[in-house]
Amino acid sequence: MALFEARHLHKRFGQQVVLEEINLSFEEGRLSGIMGPNGAGKTTCFNVLTGRYKPDRGQVLFDGEDITGSPPEKIVRRGISRSFQIMNLFDEYTVLDNIVIALPGIRKKLTNPMHAIDADSEMQDRAMDILDRVGLPGRARTNSKSLSYGERRALEIGVALATEPRLLFVDEPTAGLGADGTSRLADLIQSLKEHTTIVMIEHDMQFLFDVADKISVIHWGQVIAEGTPDELRANPWVRRSNLGELN
């Protein structure tokens, strides 16, 4: 059975139907990609799947349980987290503190007002491990505002990872990055893939086809094609809809 499943999702804003009929399923241990033209509803789809919006119709299942319409914090606690296309960091905090605050171990101590967060070496170490994984160990004490754009992208993923998810949604990790940054992020996603189930929206076709096990194409609020990268290369829909330059 799939780890995560969305059935017949429908979402509209006022008169505008953004998601018509979305059916998706993601397998544990895989990297699933989502692609589609601008305005196809990819990010809205993510927002519905991760609890930011409630769907008007349809069902979202995680690990066999119905999480439709649950608020983000409940979904995160169940083990689904996400990174954002437009960056959402805590800009007054250091890189390390951005990670620390997201750790479940810290969240569980929320109601202990005397717990000195900086003295919790176990959590500090865990946060450093995550910074290692996303390639920012040397930047722990830097203010997150002073990071380069590419580093902020990596931290964005680091914060999502810090919640210790079983399933990680990544929204356009390479948006706005140059060739250098993109290849560094590709390496990062490759290495994360070994431990975490990932669902990724991505514009860079080359990158997505290299790294994904399965890809779903969203257009007009529907999944119009689905399959492995090889299957999709041959798919007439994908060729015709001119989604990107593929070699």
Binding site: N88, I101, I106, K109, P113, A116, I117, V159, A162
Partner: protein
């Protein structure tokens, strides 16, 4: 608000020691600098109020413009508990805290899903509701006359009883509570809870996406800050020997915002303390020269907001920063300087 790690782990920091020494000795020197003992009482009470208020404004970024109402509710609760129930200091102060917190908790139910301008407007609306109830419900609050003849009850520990009749005695009661509050708030603001508050100020949506229920946290911090306002209000009823409606007005609610901002509540734990001192000293020193002292204070506020929104605490930090860098420069390695 970045402190060296050593400080954020400590129960008592150098700044806390300085504050304790400074305010602990205040009755000894306040008259020598041309001020008077009652001013000290006012200052320390408003510092308690301001520290609690800053949990909302400076830490969580929630602009409550109706907080004076809770200060006032604390004062009435203290008076009523004394008249109607049991004239015991601890009981009456506890009543001030609990009753105010109950009003705060109920109000927070309506505010905890709001932010920014909507939060601000609703906080004004609730402040005004409480103000009008207090002014019209004459049987309970005494209306425009207020509650008169509130006693400065003695501090009782078993058989021991300490008077709070004189201003200096009352000051030391407030000072003791201030010290406890400062230490507890220092710990709280450096606990996971405090860090989440600051995270909410920076990016509320992301906080929910790392697993925190933002509305519950906002509800709790609002309630906590009203509880502290209630304590300050109870003490203020003792200081004034009465509870009056004017402290619940919009103007006084604005004054606490002014104090906290001018002091630098957004960047420093100590901002509210500095702001309260500046306000009262300005009132008394400028006030001695001109009745229009608030005009000058207002202008000062405007200049500060335009040129140094980090307030007094921000200026102090810049000053320290320059001094530290200068000291470090001859050694040729300013990069190593921290904090």
């Amino acid at each position: 608000m970045d402190y060296p790690t050593k400080q954020t782990k400590a129960w008592v920091t150098p700044q806390i020691v300085v504050a304790i020494v400074l305010f602990g000795t205040m009755p000894l020197w306040i008259e020598a600098v041309g001020l008077y003992q009652y001013l000290g009482v006012e200052v320390i009470i408003w510092m308690i109020f301001a520290l609690g208020y800053n949990l909302l404004l400076g830490y969580t970024g929630l602009p409550s413009f109706g907080h004076g109402a809770f200060f006032g509710i604390g004062a009435y609760a203290y008076g009523l508990a004394q008249f109607e129930v049991w004239p015991n200091l601890w009981f009456c102060l506890a009543a001030a805290v609990v009753v105010t917190a109950a009003f705060g908790a109920a109000t927070a139910l309506f505010l905890s899903h709001r932010r920014g301008i909507y939060f601000a407007l609703m906080s004004i609306a609730f402040g005004q509701i409480f103000f009008f109830i207090a002014s019209k419900w004459t049987d309970v609050t005494g209306g425009e006359d207020g509650l008169l003849d509130i006693q400065r009850l003695p501090v009782e520990f078993g058989a021991m009883s300490l008077s709070t009749r004189s201003n200096v005695e009352l000051y030391y009661l407030c000072f003791a509570l201030f010290c406890v509050l400062v230490i507890l708030l220092w710990r709280l603001t450096n606990s996971p809870y405090g860090r989440v508050l600051r995270a909410i100020k920076q990016n509320e949506m992301r906080v929910s996406f790392i697993g925190y229920k933002v509305s519950v946290i906002k509800w709790s911090v609002f309630t906590l800050s009203t509880a502290i306002a209630g304590l300050a209000g109870g003490l203020f009823a003792m200081a004034q020997e009465g509870a009056y409606i004017n402290i619940m007005s919009l103007q006084w609610s604005g004054t606490i915002v002014l104090m906290v901002l001018i002091g630098g509540g957004f960047v420093s734990f100590w901002g509210p303390v500095l702001g309260v001192i500046l306000y009262f000293v300005a009132r008394d020193v400028l006030g001695a020269y001109t009745e229009a002292w608030l005009l000058w204070f207002g202008l000062m506020f405007m200049l500060l907001v335009m040129f140094k929104p980090e307030g007094l605490a921000g200026m102090w930090r810049d000053l320290l920063g320059t001094l530290v860098t200068r000291k470090a420069e001859p050694k040729g390695n300013p990069a190593k300087v921290e904090g």
